[in-house]
């Protein structure tokens, strides 16, 4: 577990400790049985499904247009506005529903980009080894030496805020973790008989890499990606909270909370900032529980 070993002597360390996930992958039935044992993860799964539906059907579900100015200004929750309205008369419930779109698309989009870059670089580094491996791993070291949020803030301030930019920034800066993970697995899988057989049969290198090795690293990538989605949602919320993420008038859970930096809103209008905060918390909590259950259910070392 030494950082030194992990960072700089990767080859020896990984080959010893990485379990080859591909062997003894649990069957579908076993997977479901193990997953269902985590009751909170099952609850989280249904919660996320509901949030996803709300996000997709936001235009149908939302009682008002999220940017429409109604005749109630800064009013508390009522029958007409279940979660109240903000100072310029926008319906909070509608804004929260639309903001779910932002959070979920940032979470999934950023991790998809990070996983694509990380998987390709990890495959190349692990499979070819030598100088290529050394260069790629030094680059991940450099990227991982910057404190993540600080680095993202600086890049966001230069590239400019906005939903698409946030997804790209979080994706492009999020790959080193996945690259390391994939590389470690490739080092172990590379030694397996079926890869050697593929080489002996004269298959092309891309075919071996993407058809034979990559599918067998999917389980650990999936587990890592789940926590990555939770992290990306939190990062987007923090960026938007600081004013460098999704820009008003577009609603995001983070920028809705940002209004609570003013003491009057914090004190007198708690309905403006508590609901988006609770939604972030529940969404991230659900994803983390699901990630934990996935780890348990997919782990080949698990014998139960």
């Amino acid at each position: 577990m030494s950082l030194f070993k992990r960072y700089f002597n990767k080859k020896k360390y990984d080959a010893e400790h990485t379990v080859t996930w591909s062997e003894d992958m649990p069957s579908k039935g076993l997977f479901l049985k193990r997953f269902k044992r985590h009751k909170l993860a099952v609850i989280g799964f249904f919660y996320l499904a509901i949030i996803l539906l709300c996000a997709i059907f936001a235009p149908l579900l939302a009682p008002y247009n999220p940017n429409e100015i109604t005749d109630a200004f800064g009013e508390g929750p009522s029958m007409a506005h279940w979660l109240g309205t903000d100072d310029i008369g926008r319906d909070i419930l509608s804004r929260v529903l639309y903001a779910a779109r932002v959070s979920l698309s940032v979470g999934v989009g950023a991790v998809a980009i990070a996983a694509a870059i990380g998987a390709v670089l990890g495959l190349i580094a692990g499979y070819f080894g030598g100088i290529i491996d050394g260069i790629i791993m030094r680059i991940t070291d450099v990227f991982m030496s910057f404190p993540y949020i600080m680095f993202i803030l600086v890049v966001a301030s230069i590239v400019g805020p906005g939903l698409t930019n946030i997804i790209i920034i979080l994706g492009v800066l999020g790959w080193p973790g996945i690259a390391r993970l994939v590389r470690g697995n490739v080092l172990a899988i590379k030694q397996s008989d079926y890869v050697k057989a593929g080489i002996a049969l004269g298959y092309s290198t891309p075919r071996i890499l993407f058809k034979h090795i990559l599918p067998n690293t999917i389980a650990p990538i999936l587990i890592y990606a789940t926590s990555g989605v939770a992290g990306a949602i939190l990062d987007e919320a923090a960026l938007s909270f600081l004013g460098l993420g999704v820009q008003p008038p577009d609603a995001s859970w983070g920028n809705m909370l940002s209004s609570a930096q003013s003491i009057t809103i914090l004190t007198d209008q708690p309905w403006l900032w508590i609901p988006p905060g609770i939604f972030i918390l529940l969404t991230v909590l659900s994803i983390n529980y699901i990630g934990d259950a996935l780890r348990d259910a997919l782990d080949p070392r698990n014998v139960k």
């Binding site: 577990m1 030094r138 949020i149 972030i280």
Partner: protein, 323 residues
């Protein structure tokens, strides 16, 4: 041992070099010409041009990088802020203290909570207590720190008026140790919730792995008391990987500082970062990023050295010439 430390330090050099290169490239990508921030746009073009040449802004990028690096290595000079014109080094040093007080306290307290709770959780696996701690740990990692911060301010500063809502001391006050402590309580709670949340499960799983080992079964079979088995045989081995946590926590804490310091108006590195971003003060940002990266790398090296000291297997492999 000396060889190990030296080797470890040498490997850090290319990484640090890479950090400066990436940093420089990103800052050069920044929109706007720095000359506009330094001299009044009202000056005639010729004067602006002269100033740009004097500052080396018209040199090729690699030459600019070289001069910047030379100043840094030879004089420890990071240049001047584009916004306040103060030396970047002194601005950063001034803000370093408050951040280190906050981060250091949070790290120590967080681990003091996470380690015993994680061990308790592991030894009583699947009990009510374990369930509560693990749930708490999930809450700690899932709650956005700014949301927790706002709730704490709302409850303890606004509703109950027990604690100050931000800053390091009262306006106009001279700020003794007591005031500092009172101002630290809320931000520390937020940071500790995060640190403890991340690490309870880590300690728990590292302890569970050890508890399943054969030598513990042997210890129990010898008829040793359970408490003795856990404290003497299991704990010592479980604590070794926990040393790594410290190295992993530091970059996260540094990043978290930006948000926490913003909410609690804590005059540290994080606040300086955010104000530099708002003012497009790229020379200060570059210095901040570099210092932060340096702290992260230094923390990693230190962790590894401590790790080598506590783990006899690693210590042995580096003593006596073996690689």
């Amino acid at each position: 041992m000396f060889g190990y430390i030296l080797r470890r330090l040498l490997i850090a050099i290319p990484v640090l070099f890479g950090v400066t290169v990436i940093n420089f490239i990103i800052m050069r990508m920044a929109p706007g010409n720095p000359i506009d921030m330094l001299v009044s746009p009202k000056l005639p073009d010729a004067a602006r041009e002269a100033k740009a040449i004097e500052l080396g802004l018209n040199d090729p990028v690699y030459l600019q990088y070289w001069n910047w690096l030379k100043n840094l290595v030879m004089h420890g000079d990071l240049g001047y802020s584009m916004y306040t014109s103060e030396p970047v080094v002194s601005m950063i040093l001034e803000r370093m203290g408050p951040t280190l007080i906050l981060m250091g306290t949070a790290l120590v307290l967080g681990l003091l909570i996470a380690i015993p709770l994680g061990i308790l959780s592991a030894t009583k696996q699947y009990s009510k207590l374990d369930y509560i701690f693990v749930t708490g740990s999930f809450l700690g990692i899932s709650i956005p720190n700014f949301f927790l911060g706002l709730i704490l301010v709302y409850v303890f500063a606004v509703q109950l008026s027990w604690l100050p809502s931000g800053g390091m001391k009262e306006v106009g006050g001279d700020g003794g140790f007591g005031t500092l402590l009172v101002h630290m309580i809320l931000p520390i709670i937020v940071l500790v919730a995060n640190v403890a949340g991340r690490n309870i499960r880590y300690v728990r799983s590292s302890m569970l792995e050890i508890l399943g080992q054969d030598y513990l079964r042997t210890a129990r079979a010898k008829g040793l008391k359970e408490l003795f088995v856990v404290n003497r045989h299991a704990l010592r081995n479980a604590l070794i990987p926990i040393v790594t946590i410290i190295g992993l926590e530091i970059p996260i804490l540094f990043g978290g500082a930006v948000v926490i310091e913003q909410i609690f108006s804590w005059p540290g590195i994080g606040q300086l970062t955010l104000s530099s971003i708002m003012n497009r003060d790229y020379s200060t940002l570059m210095g901040l990023n570099l210092v932060a990266a340096f702290v992260v790398i230094a923390a990693n090296i230190l962790t590894d050295i401590v790790y080598a000291f506590v783990d006899p297997r690693i210590r042995k492999s580096y003593v006596g010439g073996a690689k």
